[in-house]
Amino acid sequence: MHKLRHTPGDPEEVLTEAVETVVGEGPVYVLGLGYVDKADDGAGVLVANTLKKTFPDYSFSEHDGVEGTVLDISERSGPGTVLFVDAGDLKAPPGTIEIVARDQIRETEISTHRVPVALMAAILEGSGKKVAIVAIQPKCLEFRAEISEEMGRSVAAVVVVLSRLMRKRN
């Protein structure tokens, strides 16, 4: 796990290095999770929707249907890496980014709203894809509030880093 906000050096370089440690062979897919009406909770969707403009076949958001997207990616042949991007309570200062490797994803229970990331990760792994989570610490989760400055900066950094990576890989 890499906590990036307080690491010395250029944040984008540090983030690039951290992401590359979890990325395997083949193209990189992004799946942005969250709820855009709740301020920082929509970080994953913002990242995915921005990347989708350049990489429409590789970047997907909650609005595309998470389970269906996972199924579609799992049916694509060959290796690849799926990065779930989501706001998460990291018990860290707002805007902190963590790269969570597959073996640290433990959430297993399913509600009627969404299949857990652990199940989606298992399905993707079964099809030869690597999985990791890019988690960002939110500051504000209020309904209809603006995204916080800290989250905005981190979303921009994640977009820049993933965009460079996807340009190289996809």
Binding site: G65, I110, S111
Partner: protein, 428 residues
Amino acid sequence: MRTLEVVPLTRVEGDGGITVTLDEKKVKSVTLDIHEGPRLIEQMVVGMTPEDNLNVVPRICAICTLSHKYASLRGLEKAVGIDPPEKAQVMRDLMMLGENVESNSLHTFLLALPDFLGYPSAVAMLSDYGDDVKRALRLKKFGNHVMQVTSGRIVHGENPGLGGFGKYPTKKQLSEIALRSKELIPDAVRAVELFGSLEYPEYPEAETTFMSVNAPAKKFGLAGDSILISNGKETDADDYKKLTSERVVPHSFAKRSQYRDKTFAVGANARMINMGKRLDGQAGDFFKEHYSDRWLKNPLLNNLAQAIEMLWALEQMPETTELVASMKDPKRAEPTRLTGSGTGAVEAPRGTLYHHYDIKDGLVETADIITPTAQNLDDIEMHMRLCAERMLADDKKDAEVLLALEMVARAYDPCISCATHLVTLKRF
């Protein structure tokens, strides 16, 4: 005195738990505790226009979103005198079929099945039943797609409106839905065969009453103007309060309903009991093969009922989409009055959902929403109590009893978020 607890109750929507209080081996009480906070939706919409109300109330839940939209539409349109065009009616049927497939696929394969097969979750089931997990995701994806095409978005779509739709799907979109629904029928058949082959323990069995809408034209369906009761009676949906006498209890933020001072159940099982003989196609064949008097007693059979219903929904789609495609896009029907009252009753995946509105001078004066889970809560507790008493009398271990109680509660596919849309505040 000791207690057995399941906290939280997982694989349901919302925050709840089960508490069993015991005096030696005697069961003192079994409660389904609702921890989810109150939502106050019915008070929030007072003073809103019907259009604004229609945008707000489906936010009660993101899984039953279209059922809330449709129940609200039916209630509001009755209240302000709107007669929606036929094409809009058929489109509404289609969106409900999509929601039914989306919800029933997730509940049967991923929420209920692991218990019966002895796995702690669908994640653990993946290595042995990977194909079934993928079936669930395929069906859920397709249900979501139908919801998106008809309502505009996967969740909280705003395309359905008073008097019609903002936009109707293209013929290409409709023919794709028809084709895909046919392709997915084997997945639904697999669900029926799986749930039809399971052993259903007798511990929770007890006679109860079942209610569902009476779909028009003597067909199986998900909306209607009257309510069928398994005792043979039928009541106009506008008289829903006679069927759902409500009360509050200390251990729950959700209201409870009873019919003639007794518990009752709504859901796929109730729909099958009241309308199952109307089914045709493979769904009809499976209903005839599996239906028995046990359906009137055993809540676990709601899982099998959901599987058959999912198959029915897929079988309906080709004809429904063809009908939509054959009609010209109509204009939205307009209100004919500013003051009036109306009740909408629809079948959400987990049971009958009522929305009642009194509109005065074009604004909502009162709103009353009764969700399926709120109607089922007393029935769930009744069956859980019997199950606990009988299992403890048979010297079953605590862990076995708790798992059985979880299975009973989950079988109703409860939506706790929906059930806590309102709480009555008493000030002293």
